[in-house]
Subunit: 581 residues, 2 copies
């Protein structure tokens, strides 16, 4: 255990004293770009979560400052994220109607619960729990979520309400509603999608062709959504499209977020807690992998448990300032890193930037068409559908592919929470099944050596009286009984066998259930006239065995090596092996 | 896969053709003793399950015949069992009032569900699932159940109704009711408990002292409950104690069990299914361990999946003939085995015996006091409280002890179903935690050899440029990220390190999540200027890796041995090691 200290509790104390003017300059430049990029995203993800647009902006102010105080990564930029907003919409939509005051209240409770879960995990050093979101499950979940998120924007793209439980119904209703679509809205959305996708793919090349430096070209193309947003606002305002029925963002309050405490309604908390745990885990895994990848480029490291505290503080900040659950965003973090953000202070500067926008520029967004926000969401999430990962996993491992395919199917058909839970259950089940059916080999002596190898793969010498068995797994409750049966069956199949020697090289641990099975095996073999011996038992395993009555019950002996066991139990075979070599 | 055949579906076809007169004689003698012993137990366990006494007798007729047809063990004797009856009472009591017709209906549905679960497990060869009832959980569950069962008999021992949710309330109420106790009943119960316990402990010795042969003495003492039952009936009838308020069994219908189909009420089935799964698993584990231990004494083996079919058929038979869930009983099986039952025909003979009793002798049980049945239950279950197992587990492993203690506490305080579920969850959680934090060692070259050992335990030679790391566990989703972090941290802690070589001797499997983590690790190390190499990768693991893009992304190489890796990456250290030896 490392000691507690103020700098450990508040990482900011470890870098702020050495903060210099150059750091501030680098952080400020990065902060401006990140803020410009984050604002349209924040509005869009608030819409995705079923919230008024300002919630997204609020979630990009105080949470960033909280993360700067408690987080440790200099590269992570927190804020609303598409997948987390989808989970939020799904969870809060189950307890309140979108647009109602209860919906806002429940969202803040959810953010508070996510924060509490993250802080608790950090305090108890439970970061490892997130590892149970296996790669197939996480990757499958994200691919399926991206499809769900894109589909959920059909309402805004078509300009008519499209509802439906599950993907199939939603797409069916969208097709049925197509004749009623509001064509000016569709046109805006398609134009925005095409220009955003084009800017995303060709923007940098184009700008470079126009003579800009690669760095600057990359920067400007990553801010392309702002250009599209401003263009769309200008068009809608000039052509009076809002009057013509194009849905717009409307007025956003010109004020800093109101500070409120999340309500303490036990029933509501209990209902939202499972999803809060899921959001906490998914948000944490995504943030930490990205932070680690980016930190490695600076030969730095990210401490998972401290990152939990930073993300937890950020979500609590979102909960008290009218936001929504947040985590580290991939796009904004990568951009901030590329531009050269040096410390968490970049987050503080970004927060100030967003706050200034909230105070002075919200009238600008009045005419922003919702169809364009939907376009931003669609273009952001579709690259998350990772067909190559699906193909790669299919080639590598059918079991992992099965977990991935089930997760995708369940997320699409039965909902995100159930899909992830089934996926995690399947991953754990597969691992338990695998370890409960370990590899067991009958081994024999390789002539001319003291080595023992599998009789099925090598030409080895075996004794008719001594059965040597190697087990390639620790012994625990799920495999102990099965292994005891396998050994017993092997022993009684050959009526000449009088000794069984277990080669324990692969056994790192024997639990109480396995000890009981070994005890029973000794008795069962004794009843069948066979003695059980052990060989090559690892030190810690033997130490523990000696605390039990097992050594005194063992009918045979504990040998240092398998070779020594065979020499003592059937010298003639060993002599024969020497002669043969 | 073995082939299907009639003899495989109906094991009786494999032994009946060779059945001889001597077998029949041996089976018949064993059957009579087992039936005599089973009848009081059957009445008692029906009472424990909250059912009329005949249910226990019915459960000892048709199920035995069904097991003889489909089961394979020559030693297992099925029937009502204390622990299963407790689970039945707890499950059925939650959906119907004891004594009501609905209670009987629900019991039959439960038996049918248990039978269906067992048959399904047998058909799908899912016998291994029962291994997840780890020894600490099963042992803790049985100890705690024994306490609960004994306490549940206080009503019959005191002669006044004692109710209560959970053990604490029950015992409190019993104390409070003590002044109202019906003293003739208490006296009968105490006398029965003392004489049964004494017969159990000293009966055999006493009878031997009176000149009987050891075998016969053992037999007679194991039938001691019948003597106590007959004595009690005589006393109650003679002294007219029923008039004085001693609760008696009363009239039992003089007829073979009515054959009925269990009702098909989906809601009821759904409600009882979780407990049915638990009864199936617990009953199966207990039967199979006992059957294996007994079979070993004859150098026979028991096939788990066939045993599932036998027990499943027995429970379906119980369900259609007014019984209750059954499984292999320890006492009756051991006695039958000791007397020399040779084939499942012994079960058929026992069934005939019980059927004759039902037809002709039930009036005999009219005056049997319920207090004596309670005494039989208490004396039967109290030895199941296994304090030595608790102590042994505490000494052997704190983790296993924790699982056991939690199971006991939760069974006693929150109920049997919740207790077992928490115990199983805890066992699996502990195993996952253990494998997700595997042993990792930085290794060095042992001078004068080509062996690599842990730098912390051995005097070895290491290179400042090459870090050798050994991992003692397969790589899978729960440990891959953690291991990648450990390796990365070790590598960047020493600024001179340029190569990391993973010694893969202990890795039996790499799943898709671990592959992803390795991919990331390669990139992170590359960003830090370090190359990743593998050494001593097992054949099947390498085969699988070659299906992925990992080998082409690997910055380093795959070496045959760790020694070869060090020789090629830092020849000077190897030379130095040679010089030092």
């Amino acid at each position: 255990m490392r000691q507690w200290s103020a700098a450990r509790l508040l990482p900011i104390l470890s870098w702020l004293p050495g903060y210099r003017r150059e750091d501030a300059a680098a952080d400020a430049v990065a902060a401006v770009i990140v803020a410009v990029m984050a604002i349209p995203q924040s509005l869009a993800y608030a819409m995705l979560a079923g919230l008024p647009p300002q919630a997204g902006l609020y979630a990009s102010i105080l949470p960033l400052i909280a993360y700067a105080l408690f987080g440790s990564s200099s590269v992570l930029s927190v804020g609303p994220v598409a997948v987390i907003s989808l989970l939020t919409a799904s969870a809060v939509g189950a307890v309140a109607d979108p647009g109602s005051p209860e919906y806002l209240t429940a969202t803040l409770v959810l953010a508070a619960a996510v924060g509490a879960v993250l802080l608790l995990m950090g305090a108890l050093r439970l970061g490892w729990v997130a590892n149970y979101l296996s790669y197939p499950v996480l990757s499958g979940f994200i691919s399926a979520s991206a499809i769900l998120i894109a589909s959920s924007q059909l309402t805004h793209v078509l300009g008519v309400p499209v509802r439906g439980d599950g993907l199939v119904e939603l797409l069916g209703n969208a097709l049925r509603q197509l004749p009623q679509a509001h064509w000016p809205t569709v046109l805006l959305a398609v134009a925005a999608i095409v220009s955003l996708a084009a800017a995303h793919r060709y923007g940098k090349t184009l700008l470079q062709a126009l003579g800009l430096r690669a760095g600057l070209a990359g920067l400007l193309s990553s801010a392309s959504s702002v250009v599209v947003v401003l263009l769309a606002i200008a068009i809608v305002a000039a052509a009076d499209l809002a009057e013509a029925g194009v849905a717009i963002v409307g007025s956003i309050p010109r004020a800093l977020p109101p500070l409120t405490m999340p309500v303490l309604e036990p029933a509501l908390w209990r209902e939202l807690l499972p999803v809060a745990v899921m959001i906490a885990l998914i948000g944490f895994v995504q943030s930490i992998s990205m932070a680690q990848m980016l930190a490695a480029k600076r030969r730095e490291r990210v401490e998972a448990n401290r990152e939990l505290l930073g993300l937890g503080a950020a979500n609590l900040a979102a909960a008290i300032s009218g936001g929504l659950p947040v985590t580290g965003g991939v796009a904004r973090s990568v951009v901030g890193f590329a531009i050269g953000a040096r410390t968490p202070m970049a987050g503080v500067f970004s927060a100030v930037g967003v706050a200034l926008v909230v105070l002075y520029l919200t009238p600008l967004f009045h005419y922003l068409p919702r169809a364009v926000l939907a376009a931003i969401i669609i273009v952001a999430v579709l690259p998350l559908v990772d067909l190559r990962a699906i193909r790669r996993t299919f080639i590598y491992s059918k079991a992992d592919f099965m977990a991935m395919a089930f997760t995708i199917a369940m997320v699409l058909l039965a909902g995100v929470e159930i899909g992830v839970m089934i996926g995690v259950g399947l991953s754990i089940g597969q691992f338990l099944w695998k370890t409960s059916h370990p590899h067991v080999a009958v081994v024999g002596l390789v002539p001319g050596t003291e080595h023992f190898r599998n009789v099925r793969r090598h030409t080895v010498i075996t004794s008719p009286h001594v059965l040597s068995v190697r087990i390639d797994e620790s012994l625990y409750f799920a495999n102990a009984r099965h292994l005891a049966d396998v050994i017993y069956d092997e022993a009684v199949q050959q009526p000449t066998v009088r000794h069984v020697v277990l080669m324990c090289t692969g056994i790192n641990h024997i639990d109480a259930s396995a000890l009981e099975s070994l005890d029973e095996l000794v008795l069962r073999l004794a009843d069948a006239g066979v003695k059980l011996h052990l060989a090559e038992v690892k030190g810690p395993v033997m130490d523990r065995l000696e605390r039990s009555e097992f050594p005194s019950r063992l009918t045979g002996r504990v040998f240092l090596t398998q070779y020594q066991a065979l020499t003592e139990l059937d010298a003639s075979v060993v002599a024969q092996a020497k002669a043969a070599s």
